[in-house]
């Protein structure tokens, strides 16, 4: 028995990647939804309540056996911002996968109702998200669970 999102992904062939934008609140994140996920990205801004959400998601993700669990720092404006996130992750044993800088292109793309990729392919945030794509690609095929075929 699998959750819907798990079914949607496992029912198709191994080259398929599904990226699920989850519901915001952890209270509503059902176990069935995330049970068969290979990698979880927990996006956080550099302030306490956002980090606290990550602090609550991470143990659940581990409990469900999700193999790759990363925090992704977002809207980072300064070295101080980055340090706040780094130390929170270190204290809570959470791996920090990427640090996405504050990027005006994201706000401008939003205002225009455009995709960031279409608004400015060369935006600094896009370059960092390329790194996240590397992480995701790196997880495919090395899990050893034989579930990807």
């Amino acid at each position: 028995m699998r959750g819907l999102l798990g079914e949607l992904a496992t029912g198709t062939n191994g080259e398929t990647v599904t990226v699920t934008d989850m519901e915001a609140s952890i209270e509503h994140m059902s176990r069935a939804t995330v049970r068969h996920v290979d990698a979880m990205l927990m996006v956080t801004e550099p302030y306490f309540r956002s980090l606290e959400t990550v602090g609550r998601i991470a143990p659940l993700a581990r409990e469900l056996g999700i193999e790759h669990v990363w925090a992704v720092a977002n809207k980072v404006r300064s070295a101080r911002d980055e340090e706040i996130i780094r130390s929170y992750c270190a204290e809570h044993g959470i791996e920090l996968g990427a640090v996405v800088p504050w990027d005006e292109a994201i706000q401008e793309a939003d205002r225009e109702g455009q995709a960031l990729m279409d608004f400015n392919r060369d935006a600094p945030a896009v370059a960092v998200i390329e790194g996240i794509a590397d992480l995701v690609e790196g997880t495919a095929g090395n899990s050893g669970r034989g579930e990807h075929g």
């Binding site: 949607l8 992904a9 198709t12 990226v19 934008d21 989850m22 952890i26 996006v43």
Partner: protein, 110 residues
């Protein structure tokens, strides 16, 4: 390969989900982006037009049912996955397919 993107509302997870989906598609992967948020805007972030999104049918709740196995409650599909993807998926920029869920997370799976 299944990736979930979580985080507090406003953290920017939708932009990151959309951009990641587009980049992976450009690298040659077959990408399905799933919008599990009750206020869906992943489609716009992927670069789909409002007209395109207006015609999109959300994956209905009835596609799943809750199965009770003792203490455990899990969600199971009532139709084959391929059928669901064909009926509710729509294709956007870089060939990314989008599916928008209806209240997945409130279906009560425990």
């Amino acid at each position: 390969m299944k990736v979930a993107v979580a985080g507090k509302g406003g953290s920017g997870k939708t932009t990151i989900s959309a951009t990641l989906s587009r980049l992976l598609a450009r690298r040659g992967h077959k990408v399905t982006a799933i919008d599990g948020d009750p206020n869906p805007n992943l489609g716009v972030a992927l670069g789909m037009s409002q007209d395109h999104l207006r015609d999109l049918t959300r994956v209905p709740k009835e596609i799943m049912e809750v199965k009770e196995e003792g203490e455990r409650r899990t969600l199971v599909l009532t139709r084959p996955v391929e059928e669901i993807e064909a009926e509710y998926g729509t294709e956007g920029p870089d060939g990314v397919r989008l599916m928008v869920m209806t209240g997945v997370d409130h279906a009560g799976a425990g």
